[in-house]
Protein backbone atom coordinates (compact mmCIF):
# COMPACT_ATOMS: atom_id res chain seq x y z
CA UNK A 1 0.00 0.00 0.00
CA UNK A 2 1.34 3.39 -0.94
CA UNK A 3 1.93 5.48 2.11
CA UNK A 4 -0.34 8.50 1.91
CA UNK A 5 0.77 11.71 3.53
CA UNK A 6 -1.34 12.07 6.67
CA UNK A 7 -3.65 15.05 6.51
CA UNK A 8 -4.18 17.48 9.36
CA UNK A 9 -7.25 16.44 11.29
CA UNK A 10 -10.12 18.77 10.59
CA UNK A 11 -13.86 19.08 10.45
CA UNK A 12 -15.70 21.05 7.74
CA UNK A 13 -19.35 21.88 7.26
CA UNK A 14 -21.00 20.85 3.99
CA UNK A 15 -24.48 21.08 2.52
CA UNK A 16 -25.17 17.52 3.60
CA UNK A 17 -23.62 17.75 7.06
CA UNK A 18 -19.97 17.30 8.02
CA UNK A 19 -16.74 16.30 6.39
CA UNK A 20 -14.04 14.75 8.59
CA UNK A 21 -10.46 14.50 7.38
CA UNK A 22 -7.12 13.22 8.63
CA UNK A 23 -6.46 11.20 11.78
CA UNK A 24 -9.20 10.65 14.33
CA UNK A 25 -7.09 9.64 17.32
CA UNK A 26 -6.70 10.55 20.97
CA UNK A 27 -4.47 13.50 20.10
CA UNK A 28 -6.85 15.13 17.58
CA UNK A 29 -10.29 14.16 18.84
CA UNK A 30 -10.03 16.44 21.86
CA UNK A 31 -9.72 19.41 19.48
CA UNK A 32 -12.37 18.21 17.04
CA UNK A 33 -15.00 17.06 19.52
CA UNK A 34 -16.61 20.38 20.44
CA UNK A 35 -16.40 21.74 16.89
CA UNK A 36 -17.94 18.64 15.30
CA UNK A 37 -20.66 18.42 17.97
CA UNK A 38 -21.56 22.10 17.48
CA UNK A 39 -21.64 21.79 13.69
CA UNK A 40 -23.83 18.69 13.91
CA UNK A 41 -26.20 20.36 16.38
CA UNK A 42 -26.55 23.42 14.14
CA UNK A 43 -27.29 21.35 11.04
CA UNK A 44 -30.92 21.71 9.98
CA UNK A 45 -33.47 19.00 9.23
CA UNK A 46 -32.97 15.95 7.05
CA UNK A 47 -30.23 13.40 7.22
CA UNK A 48 -26.93 14.44 8.75
CA UNK A 49 -24.27 12.94 6.49
CA UNK A 50 -20.84 12.54 8.05
CA UNK A 51 -18.40 12.11 5.19
CA UNK A 52 -15.41 10.20 6.53
CA UNK A 53 -13.83 9.28 3.21
CA UNK A 54 -10.91 11.58 4.06
CA UNK A 55 -10.24 9.87 7.40
CA UNK A 56 -7.03 7.91 7.14
CA UNK A 57 -6.83 6.63 10.73
CA UNK A 58 -9.38 6.12 13.46
CA UNK A 59 -8.82 4.64 16.94
CA UNK A 60 -11.08 4.17 19.94
CA UNK A 61 -11.32 7.91 20.61
CA UNK A 62 -12.28 8.58 16.95
CA UNK A 63 -14.87 5.81 17.10
CA UNK A 64 -16.32 7.39 20.23
CA UNK A 65 -16.66 10.71 18.36
CA UNK A 66 -18.51 9.13 15.43
CA UNK A 67 -20.81 7.26 17.81
CA UNK A 68 -21.48 10.41 19.85
CA UNK A 69 -22.40 12.30 16.65
CA UNK A 70 -24.89 9.58 15.71
CA UNK A 71 -26.36 9.34 19.22
CA UNK A 72 -26.79 13.12 19.53
CA UNK A 73 -28.45 13.29 16.11
CA UNK A 74 -30.85 10.46 16.91
CA UNK A 75 -31.62 11.93 20.33
CA UNK A 76 -32.56 15.18 18.59
CA UNK A 77 -34.95 13.22 16.36
CA UNK A 78 -32.86 13.49 13.16
CA UNK A 79 -31.39 10.90 10.82
CA UNK A 80 -27.69 10.12 10.47
CA UNK A 81 -25.50 8.56 7.84
CA UNK A 82 -21.81 7.73 8.03
CA UNK A 83 -20.36 7.74 4.54
CA UNK A 84 -17.03 6.76 3.07
CA UNK A 85 -15.29 5.31 6.14
CA UNK A 86 -12.88 2.53 5.21
CA UNK A 87 -14.00 -1.01 6.08
CA UNK A 88 -11.19 -1.62 8.56
CA UNK A 89 -12.03 1.59 10.40
CA UNK A 90 -15.73 0.71 10.30
CA UNK A 91 -14.89 -2.46 12.26
CA UNK A 92 -13.39 -0.34 15.03
CA UNK A 93 -16.51 1.83 15.19
CA UNK A 94 -18.68 -1.29 15.22
CA UNK A 95 -16.72 -2.68 18.19
CA UNK A 96 -17.33 0.50 20.17
CA UNK A 97 -21.03 0.75 19.22
CA UNK A 98 -23.57 0.17 21.99
CA UNK A 99 -25.22 -3.16 21.23
CA UNK A 100 -28.96 -2.87 20.76
CA UNK A 101 -29.76 -6.31 22.11
CA UNK A 102 -27.29 -6.38 24.99
CA UNK A 103 -29.29 -6.69 28.16
CA UNK A 104 -27.74 -4.03 30.35
CA UNK A 105 -27.24 -5.37 33.85
CA UNK A 106 -29.08 -3.78 36.72
CA UNK A 107 -26.92 -0.94 38.00
CA UNK A 108 -26.04 -1.20 41.68
CA UNK A 109 -29.00 0.29 43.53
CA UNK A 110 -28.28 3.29 45.74
CA UNK A 111 -29.92 2.96 49.14
CA UNK A 112 -32.16 5.69 50.50
CA UNK A 113 -31.32 7.45 53.82
CA UNK A 114 -33.67 5.22 55.84
CA UNK A 115 -32.11 2.09 54.42
CA UNK A 116 -28.66 3.53 55.12
CA UNK A 117 -29.66 4.32 58.73
CA UNK A 118 -31.09 0.84 59.18
CA UNK A 119 -28.05 -0.81 57.69
CA UNK A 120 -25.69 1.30 59.83
CA UNK A 121 -27.64 0.44 62.99
CA UNK A 122 -27.65 -3.22 62.12
CA UNK A 123 -23.94 -3.04 61.37
CA UNK A 124 -23.26 -1.26 64.67
CA UNK A 125 -24.96 -4.08 66.60
CA UNK A 126 -23.15 -6.68 64.52
CA UNK A 127 -19.84 -4.92 65.26
CA UNK A 128 -20.68 -4.81 68.97
CA UNK A 129 -21.44 -8.51 68.95
CA UNK A 130 -18.18 -9.23 67.11
CA UNK A 131 -16.31 -7.08 69.61
CA UNK A 132 -17.84 -8.89 72.60
CA UNK A 133 -17.02 -12.26 71.03
CA UNK A 134 -13.51 -11.09 70.29
CA UNK A 135 -12.93 -9.84 73.86
CA UNK A 136 -14.22 -13.17 75.16
CA UNK A 137 -11.96 -15.17 72.86
CA UNK A 138 -8.97 -12.99 73.68
CA UNK A 139 -9.57 -13.30 77.43
CA UNK A 140 -9.77 -17.08 77.14
CA UNK A 141 -6.66 -17.15 74.97
CA UNK A 142 -4.72 -14.99 77.44
CA UNK A 143 -5.87 -17.10 80.38
CA UNK A 144 -4.86 -20.22 78.48
CA UNK A 145 -1.49 -18.66 77.61
CA UNK A 146 -0.83 -17.94 81.31
CA UNK A 147 -1.51 -21.59 82.13
CA UNK A 148 0.34 -22.93 79.07
CA UNK A 149 2.99 -20.37 78.04
CA UNK A 150 4.20 -22.64 75.22
CA UNK A 151 0.98 -21.89 73.37
CA UNK A 152 2.33 -18.44 72.59
CA UNK A 153 4.57 -18.55 69.53
CA UNK A 154 7.76 -17.26 71.15
CA UNK A 155 9.64 -16.40 67.97
CA UNK A 156 6.78 -14.29 66.59
CA UNK A 157 6.29 -12.63 69.96
CA UNK A 158 9.96 -11.70 70.28
CA UNK A 159 9.96 -10.26 66.76
CA UNK A 160 6.94 -8.08 67.53
CA UNK A 161 8.42 -7.09 70.89
CA UNK A 162 11.61 -6.03 69.15
CA UNK A 163 9.79 -3.96 66.53
CA UNK A 164 7.22 -2.44 68.89
CA UNK A 165 9.52 -2.11 71.91
CA UNK A 166 13.20 -1.64 71.11
CA UNK A 167 12.34 0.13 67.85
CA UNK A 168 10.19 2.62 69.76
CA UNK A 169 12.74 3.51 72.45
CA UNK A 170 14.42 6.44 70.62
CA UNK A 171 11.17 8.22 69.73
CA UNK A 172 9.62 7.52 73.15
CA UNK A 173 12.74 8.88 74.86
CA UNK A 174 12.70 11.99 72.69
CA UNK A 175 9.01 12.67 73.29
CA UNK A 176 9.45 12.01 77.03
CA UNK A 177 12.40 14.37 77.24
CA UNK A 178 10.53 17.16 75.43
CA UNK A 179 7.43 16.52 77.52
CA UNK A 180 9.39 16.87 80.79
CA UNK A 181 11.19 19.95 79.56
CA UNK A 182 8.07 21.72 78.27
CA UNK A 183 5.84 20.74 81.19
CA UNK A 184 8.34 21.98 83.77
CA UNK A 185 9.01 25.17 81.82
CA UNK A 186 5.31 25.99 81.35
CA UNK A 187 4.56 25.34 85.03
CA UNK A 188 7.67 27.14 86.32
CA UNK A 189 6.70 30.46 84.73
CA UNK A 190 3.41 31.02 86.66
CA UNK A 191 4.66 29.25 89.80
CA UNK A 192 7.63 31.60 90.00
CA UNK A 193 5.21 34.50 90.56
CA UNK A 194 4.28 32.88 93.88
CA UNK A 195 7.81 31.76 94.71
CA UNK A 196 6.66 28.17 94.30
CA UNK A 197 8.93 27.08 91.47
CA UNK A 198 10.55 24.48 93.70
CA UNK A 199 7.29 22.52 93.46
CA UNK A 200 7.83 22.08 89.73
CA UNK A 201 9.65 18.88 90.62
CA UNK A 202 6.65 17.59 92.62
CA UNK A 203 4.28 18.46 89.78
CA UNK A 204 6.43 16.84 87.14
CA UNK A 205 7.16 13.70 89.16
CA UNK A 206 3.56 12.95 90.04
CA UNK A 207 2.05 13.86 86.68
CA UNK A 208 4.66 11.93 84.72
CA UNK A 209 4.85 8.73 86.71
CA UNK A 210 1.19 8.51 87.57
CA UNK A 211 -0.44 9.79 84.39
CA UNK A 212 1.48 11.17 81.44
CA UNK A 213 4.26 8.58 81.14
CA UNK A 214 1.97 5.56 80.72
CA UNK A 215 -0.57 7.54 78.70
CA UNK A 216 1.94 8.95 76.22
CA UNK A 217 3.75 5.61 75.90
CA UNK A 218 0.42 3.97 75.06
CA UNK A 219 -0.43 6.68 72.53
CA UNK A 220 2.98 6.18 70.91
CA UNK A 221 2.39 2.44 70.79
CA UNK A 222 -1.01 3.00 69.17
CA UNK A 223 0.46 5.25 66.51
CA UNK A 224 3.48 3.06 65.80
CA UNK A 225 2.40 -0.49 66.44
CA UNK A 226 -1.40 -0.62 66.73
CA UNK A 227 -1.66 0.81 63.24
CA UNK A 228 1.03 -1.59 61.99
CA UNK A 229 -0.86 -4.57 63.46
CA UNK A 230 -4.06 -3.43 61.72
CA UNK A 231 -2.31 -2.87 58.36
CA UNK A 232 -0.38 -6.14 58.52
CA UNK A 233 -3.32 -8.34 59.51
CA UNK A 234 -5.62 -6.35 57.19
CA UNK A 235 -3.33 -7.04 54.23
CA UNK A 236 -3.22 -10.70 55.23
CA UNK A 237 -7.03 -10.68 55.28
CA UNK A 238 -7.20 -9.10 51.81
CA UNK A 239 -4.69 -11.67 50.50
CA UNK A 240 -6.76 -14.49 52.05
CA UNK A 241 -3.82 -15.50 54.27
CA UNK A 242 -6.10 -15.38 57.32
CA UNK A 243 -8.55 -17.72 55.56
CA UNK A 244 -5.62 -20.01 54.72
CA UNK A 245 -4.67 -20.15 58.41
CA UNK A 246 -8.23 -20.98 59.40
CA UNK A 247 -8.65 -23.70 56.79
CA UNK A 248 -5.39 -25.28 57.93
CA UNK A 249 -6.99 -25.53 61.37
CA UNK A 250 -4.72 -22.85 62.82
CA UNK A 251 -6.54 -20.28 64.90
CA UNK A 252 -5.79 -16.67 63.91
CA UNK A 253 -6.24 -15.85 67.60
CA UNK A 254 -3.27 -18.00 68.61
CA UNK A 255 -1.10 -17.40 65.56
CA UNK A 256 -1.64 -13.73 64.88
CA UNK A 257 -3.21 -12.01 67.85
CA UNK A 258 -1.79 -13.65 70.95
CA UNK A 259 1.90 -13.01 70.07
CA UNK A 260 1.13 -9.36 69.39
CA UNK A 261 -0.92 -8.83 72.55
CA UNK A 262 1.63 -10.56 74.79
CA UNK A 263 4.47 -8.59 73.15
CA UNK A 264 2.60 -5.32 73.66
CA UNK A 265 1.87 -6.18 77.29
CA UNK A 266 5.56 -6.77 77.85
CA UNK A 267 6.88 -3.69 76.09
CA UNK A 268 4.44 -0.95 77.11
CA UNK A 269 5.48 -0.88 80.79
CA UNK A 270 9.11 -0.68 79.66
CA UNK A 271 8.27 2.13 77.25
CA UNK A 272 6.38 3.91 80.05
CA UNK A 273 9.48 3.68 82.23
CA UNK A 274 11.64 5.04 79.39
CA UNK A 275 9.14 7.87 78.97
CA UNK A 276 9.22 8.57 82.73
CA UNK A 277 13.02 8.57 82.91
CA UNK A 278 13.43 10.79 79.85
CA UNK A 279 10.74 13.18 81.14
CA UNK A 280 12.41 13.44 84.54
CA UNK A 281 15.72 14.09 82.83
CA UNK A 282 14.18 16.89 80.75
CA UNK A 283 12.60 18.32 83.92
CA UNK A 284 15.96 18.15 85.69
CA UNK A 285 17.58 20.30 83.02
CA UNK A 286 14.82 22.86 83.42
CA UNK A 287 15.11 22.70 87.23
CA UNK A 288 18.86 23.29 87.05
CA UNK A 289 18.27 26.34 84.88
CA UNK A 290 16.19 27.78 87.74
CA UNK A 291 19.39 27.73 89.87
CA UNK A 292 18.35 24.87 92.09
CA UNK A 293 20.89 22.11 92.79
CA UNK A 294 20.21 18.64 91.40
CA UNK A 295 20.01 17.13 94.87
CA UNK A 296 17.00 19.35 95.64
CA UNK A 297 15.28 18.10 92.49
CA UNK A 298 15.94 14.47 93.42
CA UNK A 299 14.80 15.01 97.02
CA UNK A 300 11.58 16.72 95.92
CA UNK A 301 10.80 13.92 93.50
CA UNK A 302 11.45 11.13 96.01
CA UNK A 303 9.39 12.96 98.66
CA UNK A 304 6.46 13.69 96.36
CA UNK A 305 6.18 10.47 94.41
CA UNK A 306 4.97 7.39 96.23
CA UNK A 307 5.67 3.83 95.14
CA UNK A 308 1.93 3.45 94.54
CA UNK A 309 2.05 6.23 91.93
CA UNK A 310 4.78 4.45 90.02
CA UNK A 311 3.22 0.95 90.31
CA UNK A 312 -0.23 2.31 89.45
CA UNK A 313 1.18 3.98 86.36
CA UNK A 314 2.94 0.82 85.20
CA UNK A 315 -0.20 -1.24 85.82
CA UNK A 316 -2.18 1.20 83.68
CA UNK A 317 0.46 0.92 80.96
CA UNK A 318 0.06 -2.83 80.99
CA UNK A 319 -3.72 -2.55 80.48
CA UNK A 320 -3.19 0.07 77.76
CA UNK A 321 -0.87 -2.38 76.00
CA UNK A 322 -3.59 -5.02 75.88
CA UNK A 323 -6.07 -2.45 74.53
CA UNK A 324 -3.74 -1.15 71.82
CA UNK A 325 -2.73 -4.57 70.52
CA UNK A 326 -6.23 -6.03 70.80
CA UNK A 327 -7.82 -3.12 68.95
CA UNK A 328 -5.15 -3.11 66.23
CA UNK A 329 -5.52 -6.84 65.62
CA UNK A 330 -9.32 -6.72 65.76
CA UNK A 331 -9.47 -3.90 63.22
CA UNK A 332 -7.08 -5.83 60.99
CA UNK A 333 -9.25 -8.95 61.14
CA UNK A 334 -12.33 -6.89 60.30
CA UNK A 335 -10.77 -5.50 57.10
CA UNK A 336 -13.00 -5.57 54.01
CA UNK A 337 -11.90 -5.87 50.40
CA UNK A 338 -9.21 -3.86 48.65
CA UNK A 339 -6.39 -1.51 49.51
CA UNK A 340 -8.80 1.20 50.70
CA UNK A 341 -10.18 -1.14 53.36
CA UNK A 342 -6.69 -1.61 54.82
CA UNK A 343 -6.36 2.16 55.11
CA UNK A 344 -9.73 2.41 56.86
CA UNK A 345 -8.79 -0.35 59.32
CA UNK A 346 -5.51 1.34 60.12
CA UNK A 347 -7.15 4.71 60.73
CA UNK A 348 -9.89 3.11 62.78
CA UNK A 349 -7.35 1.21 64.92
CA UNK A 350 -5.57 4.45 65.86
CA UNK A 351 -8.76 6.43 66.55
CA UNK A 352 -10.41 3.61 68.51
CA UNK A 353 -7.20 2.81 70.37
CA UNK A 354 -6.59 6.36 71.55
CA UNK A 355 -10.27 6.86 72.45
CA UNK A 356 -10.35 3.67 74.50
CA UNK A 357 -7.08 4.57 76.23
CA UNK A 358 -8.51 7.96 77.24
CA UNK A 359 -11.72 6.37 78.54
CA UNK A 360 -9.90 3.65 80.47
CA UNK A 361 -7.50 6.24 81.88
CA UNK A 362 -10.50 8.19 83.17
CA UNK A 363 -11.91 5.04 84.77
CA UNK A 364 -8.53 4.39 86.43
CA UNK A 365 -8.46 7.95 87.77
CA UNK A 366 -11.83 7.45 89.50
CA UNK A 367 -10.89 3.96 90.67
CA UNK A 368 -7.56 5.08 92.16
CA UNK A 369 -9.31 7.99 93.88
CA UNK A 370 -11.95 5.72 95.41
CA UNK A 371 -9.31 3.19 96.50
CA UNK A 372 -7.14 5.98 97.89
CA UNK A 373 -4.16 5.08 95.71
Amino acid sequence: MAAATPQTSQVERSDEGLILRGRLDGASVGRLWSEASRAAAEFGGGTLVVDASGVDYCDGAGAALLIALRQNRERAGGAYELRGLRDQLRTIVAMAEPSAEAAAPEPPRRENPFEALGRSTFQAFADLRTMVEYVGQLTLALASAVRHPRQVRGKDMMLVAEQAGIGAVPIVALIGFLLGLILSFQSAVPMRQFGAEIFVADLLGISLLRELGPLMAAVMLTARSGSAFAAEIGTMKVNEEVDALSTMGLEPMRFLILPRVVAAVLVVPVLAMVMNAAGLFGGALMFLSLDFPLVTYVNRITDAVRLADFVGGIFKALIFGIIVAAVGCQKGLGTGKGAGAVGLSTTSSVVTGITLIAIVDGIFAVLFYVLGI
Binding site: W33, A61, A68, E97, A104, G338, A339
Partner: protein
Protein backbone atom coordinates in the same frame (compact mmCIF):
# COMPACT_ATOMS: atom_id res chain seq x y z
CA UNK B 1 -0.77 -14.13 6.61
CA UNK B 2 -2.30 -10.70 6.89
CA UNK B 3 -1.72 -8.67 9.94
CA UNK B 4 1.81 -8.85 11.29
CA UNK B 5 4.29 -6.91 9.27
CA UNK B 6 8.02 -7.21 9.23
CA UNK B 7 8.98 -3.95 10.95
CA UNK B 8 9.92 -4.28 14.60
CA UNK B 9 8.15 -2.09 17.13
CA UNK B 10 10.36 -3.27 20.00
CA UNK B 11 13.89 -4.66 19.80
CA UNK B 12 15.38 -6.29 22.87
CA UNK B 13 19.15 -6.47 22.56
CA UNK B 14 21.49 -8.49 24.79
CA UNK B 15 19.28 -8.01 27.81
CA UNK B 16 20.43 -9.30 31.18
CA UNK B 17 18.58 -8.98 34.43
CA UNK B 18 19.65 -10.13 37.86
CA UNK B 19 18.64 -9.52 41.45
CA UNK B 20 21.85 -9.65 43.47
CA UNK B 21 23.62 -12.80 42.39
CA UNK B 22 20.41 -14.39 41.07
CA UNK B 23 20.49 -14.04 37.28
CA UNK B 24 16.97 -14.15 35.85
CA UNK B 25 17.88 -14.07 32.15
CA UNK B 26 21.22 -13.54 30.48
CA UNK B 27 22.08 -11.88 27.14
CA UNK B 28 18.63 -12.30 25.61
CA UNK B 29 17.73 -10.71 22.26
CA UNK B 30 14.48 -10.74 20.26
CA UNK B 31 12.12 -8.40 18.48
CA UNK B 32 8.39 -7.77 18.55
CA UNK B 33 6.86 -6.93 15.16
CA UNK B 34 4.25 -4.28 14.64
CA UNK B 35 0.68 -5.60 14.80
CA UNK B 36 1.48 -9.12 15.99
CA UNK B 37 0.43 -10.96 19.11
CA UNK B 38 3.75 -11.91 20.65
CA UNK B 39 3.79 -14.37 23.51
CA UNK B 40 6.55 -14.83 26.08
CA UNK B 41 6.46 -18.40 27.31
CA UNK B 42 8.25 -20.37 29.93
CA UNK B 43 7.88 -22.44 33.04
CA UNK B 44 7.13 -20.95 36.43
CA UNK B 45 9.95 -18.76 37.73
CA UNK B 46 11.77 -18.43 34.39
CA UNK B 47 11.44 -14.62 34.42
CA UNK B 48 8.53 -14.00 32.06
CA UNK B 49 6.92 -11.32 34.22
CA UNK B 50 10.33 -9.83 35.01
CA UNK B 51 10.99 -9.61 31.26
CA UNK B 52 7.72 -7.73 30.82
CA UNK B 53 8.50 -5.34 33.67
CA UNK B 54 11.91 -4.60 32.19
CA UNK B 55 10.38 -4.07 28.74
CA UNK B 56 7.87 -1.53 30.04
CA UNK B 57 10.58 0.32 31.95
CA UNK B 58 9.47 -0.58 35.48
CA UNK B 59 12.77 -2.31 36.22
CA UNK B 60 16.20 -1.19 35.08
CA UNK B 61 18.07 -4.14 33.51
CA UNK B 62 21.57 -5.17 34.56
CA UNK B 63 22.73 -4.86 30.91
CA UNK B 64 21.37 -4.53 27.40
CA UNK B 65 19.01 -2.29 25.48
CA UNK B 66 15.29 -2.10 24.73
CA UNK B 67 14.52 -0.09 21.62
CA UNK B 68 10.95 1.08 21.15
CA UNK B 69 10.70 2.48 17.62
CA UNK B 70 14.49 2.88 17.76
CA UNK B 71 14.40 4.86 21.04
CA UNK B 72 16.30 3.19 23.86
CA UNK B 73 14.14 2.95 26.98
CA UNK B 74 17.03 1.84 29.17
CA UNK B 75 19.25 4.86 28.62
CA UNK B 76 16.42 7.39 28.14
CA UNK B 77 16.01 10.19 30.68
CA UNK B 78 12.93 10.13 32.91
CA UNK B 79 10.85 12.47 30.76
CA UNK B 80 11.55 10.60 27.54
CA UNK B 81 10.85 7.27 29.24
CA UNK B 82 7.52 8.55 30.56
CA UNK B 83 6.62 9.72 27.05
CA UNK B 84 7.37 6.26 25.70
CA UNK B 85 5.51 4.56 28.55
CA UNK B 86 2.43 6.62 27.69
CA UNK B 87 2.34 4.75 24.40
CA UNK B 88 2.23 1.44 26.29
CA UNK B 89 -0.88 -0.09 27.75
CA UNK B 90 -0.30 -2.58 30.55
CA UNK B 91 -2.64 -5.10 32.12
CA UNK B 92 -1.29 -6.56 35.32
CA UNK B 93 -1.97 -10.10 36.46
CA UNK B 94 -4.43 -9.04 39.15
CA UNK B 95 -6.07 -6.40 36.96
CA UNK B 96 -4.89 -3.71 39.40
CA UNK B 97 -8.09 -1.69 39.02
CA UNK B 98 -8.43 1.14 41.51
CA UNK B 99 -10.90 -0.15 44.06
CA UNK B 100 -12.29 3.25 44.99
CA UNK B 101 -13.36 4.09 41.42
CA UNK B 102 -16.09 2.74 39.17
CA UNK B 103 -15.08 0.93 36.00
CA UNK B 104 -15.81 4.04 33.94
CA UNK B 105 -13.72 6.20 36.26
CA UNK B 106 -10.86 3.67 36.05
CA UNK B 107 -10.84 3.94 32.25
CA UNK B 108 -11.41 7.69 32.34
CA UNK B 109 -8.44 8.40 34.60
CA UNK B 110 -5.69 8.30 31.92
CA UNK B 111 -7.88 10.42 29.64
CA UNK B 112 -8.25 13.05 32.36
CA UNK B 113 -4.52 13.15 32.93
CA UNK B 114 -3.19 13.05 29.40
CA UNK B 115 -5.82 14.40 26.97
CA UNK B 116 -7.67 17.66 26.47
CA UNK B 117 -11.00 15.98 25.71
CA UNK B 118 -14.12 17.71 27.06
CA UNK B 119 -15.70 15.95 30.06
CA UNK B 120 -18.59 14.42 28.09
CA UNK B 121 -16.15 13.23 25.42
CA UNK B 122 -14.05 11.51 28.08
CA UNK B 123 -17.13 9.69 29.30
CA UNK B 124 -18.00 8.71 25.74
CA UNK B 125 -14.48 7.45 24.98
CA UNK B 126 -14.25 5.56 28.28
CA UNK B 127 -17.66 3.97 27.69
CA UNK B 128 -16.66 2.95 24.16
CA UNK B 129 -13.51 1.26 25.53
CA UNK B 130 -15.66 -0.71 27.97
CA UNK B 131 -17.97 -1.70 25.12
CA UNK B 132 -14.95 -2.93 23.14
CA UNK B 133 -14.26 -5.44 25.91
CA UNK B 134 -17.93 -6.38 26.26
CA UNK B 135 -18.53 -4.52 29.52
CA UNK B 136 -21.38 -2.36 28.29
CA UNK B 137 -23.73 -1.55 31.15
CA UNK B 138 -21.11 -2.09 33.86
CA UNK B 139 -19.82 1.49 33.80
CA UNK B 140 -21.04 2.32 37.32
CA UNK B 141 -19.89 -0.94 38.89
CA UNK B 142 -17.05 -1.00 41.39
CA UNK B 143 -14.18 -3.45 40.83
CA UNK B 144 -15.22 -5.38 43.94
CA UNK B 145 -18.65 -6.02 42.40
CA UNK B 146 -17.47 -7.82 39.25
CA UNK B 147 -15.92 -11.21 38.53
CA UNK B 148 -12.23 -11.90 37.92
CA UNK B 149 -12.71 -12.25 34.16
CA UNK B 150 -14.62 -8.98 33.98
CA UNK B 151 -11.94 -7.26 36.05
CA UNK B 152 -9.31 -8.41 33.56
CA UNK B 153 -11.40 -7.14 30.64
CA UNK B 154 -11.88 -3.82 32.45
CA UNK B 155 -8.12 -3.67 33.00
CA UNK B 156 -7.62 -4.15 29.24
CA UNK B 157 -10.11 -1.32 28.61
CA UNK B 158 -8.12 0.93 30.96
CA UNK B 159 -4.86 -0.12 29.29
CA UNK B 160 -6.41 0.87 25.94
CA UNK B 161 -7.69 4.22 27.19
CA UNK B 162 -5.03 6.23 25.39
CA UNK B 163 -5.07 3.97 22.31
CA UNK B 164 -1.52 2.72 22.91
CA UNK B 165 0.72 1.37 20.18
CA UNK B 166 1.43 -1.75 22.19
CA UNK B 167 -0.43 -3.61 24.90
CA UNK B 168 1.37 -5.74 27.49
CA UNK B 169 -0.73 -8.39 29.20
CA UNK B 170 0.64 -10.30 32.19
CA UNK B 171 -1.02 -13.71 32.56
CA UNK B 172 -4.41 -12.62 31.19
CA UNK B 173 -5.94 -16.09 31.50
CA UNK B 174 -4.60 -16.96 34.95
CA UNK B 175 -7.33 -17.97 37.34
CA UNK B 176 -10.11 -17.86 34.77
CA UNK B 177 -12.45 -20.68 33.77
CA UNK B 178 -12.02 -22.04 30.21
CA UNK B 179 -15.08 -20.20 28.86
CA UNK B 180 -14.08 -16.83 30.31
CA UNK B 181 -10.51 -17.45 29.20
CA UNK B 182 -11.68 -18.20 25.64
CA UNK B 183 -13.81 -15.03 25.66
CA UNK B 184 -10.80 -13.01 26.74
CA UNK B 185 -8.73 -14.58 23.93
CA UNK B 186 -11.40 -13.52 21.44
CA UNK B 187 -11.34 -9.99 22.87
CA UNK B 188 -7.55 -9.88 22.40
CA UNK B 189 -7.80 -11.19 18.84
CA UNK B 190 -10.54 -8.78 17.80
CA UNK B 191 -8.61 -5.82 19.26
CA UNK B 192 -5.42 -6.93 17.55
CA UNK B 193 -7.08 -7.40 14.17
CA UNK B 194 -9.34 -4.34 14.24
CA UNK B 195 -7.14 -1.75 15.90
CA UNK B 196 -3.83 -3.13 14.66
CA UNK B 197 -2.48 -2.95 18.21
CA UNK B 198 0.64 -4.97 19.00
CA UNK B 199 0.23 -7.34 21.93
CA UNK B 200 2.97 -8.73 24.15
CA UNK B 201 1.43 -11.44 26.28
CA UNK B 202 3.07 -13.29 29.15
CA UNK B 203 1.38 -16.60 29.75
CA UNK B 204 1.81 -20.34 30.02
CA UNK B 205 -1.78 -21.30 29.18
CA UNK B 206 -1.42 -23.59 26.17
CA UNK B 207 -4.97 -23.25 24.74
CA UNK B 208 -4.63 -19.49 24.91
CA UNK B 209 -1.25 -19.55 23.19
CA UNK B 210 -2.57 -21.57 20.25
CA UNK B 211 -5.56 -19.23 19.89
CA UNK B 212 -3.89 -15.84 20.03
CA UNK B 213 -0.16 -16.08 19.34
CA UNK B 214 1.44 -15.11 16.04
CA UNK B 215 4.90 -15.82 17.42
CA UNK B 216 6.28 -17.03 20.71
CA UNK B 217 9.61 -17.14 22.47
CA UNK B 218 10.34 -19.55 25.26
CA UNK B 219 12.57 -18.62 28.19
CA UNK B 220 14.45 -21.32 30.04
CA UNK B 221 15.05 -21.17 33.77
CA UNK B 222 18.22 -23.29 33.66
CA UNK B 223 20.14 -21.69 30.82
CA UNK B 224 18.59 -18.20 31.38
CA UNK B 225 18.27 -17.93 27.60
CA UNK B 226 15.63 -18.12 24.89
CA UNK B 227 15.49 -21.76 23.88
CA UNK B 228 12.87 -21.54 21.12
CA UNK B 229 11.31 -18.99 18.78
CA UNK B 230 8.54 -19.44 16.22
CA UNK B 231 4.84 -20.03 15.88
CA UNK B 232 3.22 -22.20 18.55
CA UNK B 233 2.63 -24.92 15.95
CA UNK B 234 6.30 -24.90 14.90
CA UNK B 235 7.44 -25.22 18.49
CA UNK B 236 4.97 -28.00 19.23
CA UNK B 237 5.64 -30.04 16.10
CA UNK B 238 9.26 -29.42 15.22
CA UNK B 239 11.24 -28.35 18.26
CA UNK B 240 13.99 -30.77 19.22
CA UNK B 241 14.51 -29.15 22.64
CA UNK B 242 13.36 -31.61 25.30
CA UNK B 243 11.95 -28.86 27.55
CA UNK B 244 9.94 -27.33 24.69
CA UNK B 245 8.63 -30.80 23.84
CA UNK B 246 7.71 -31.43 27.46
CA UNK B 247 6.03 -28.04 27.74
CA UNK B 248 3.89 -28.35 24.64
CA UNK B 249 2.94 -31.96 25.36
CA UNK B 250 2.32 -31.33 29.06
CA UNK B 251 4.75 -34.02 30.19
CA UNK B 252 6.11 -34.20 33.73
CA UNK B 253 9.82 -34.64 34.41
CA UNK B 254 10.72 -38.35 34.31
CA UNK B 255 12.01 -38.38 37.91
CA UNK B 256 8.81 -36.67 39.07
CA UNK B 257 6.75 -39.34 37.33
CA UNK B 258 8.47 -42.11 39.19
CA UNK B 259 8.57 -40.23 42.49
Amino acid sequence: MAGPQDDAIIRVEHLTQAFGSNVVFDDVSFEVRRGEVFVILGGSGCGKSTMMKVMIGLHQPRAGHILFENQDIVSADRKTREGIQRRFGVMYQSGALFGSMTLLENVRLPLEEFTDLPADAMDAVAASKLRMVALEGFETYMPADISGGMAKRAAIARAMALDPSILFLDEPSAGLDPITSAELDQTILSLAHSLGVTFVVVTHELPSIFTIADRVIMLDKKTKKIIATGTPQELRDHSTDPFVHQFFHREANPQEETA
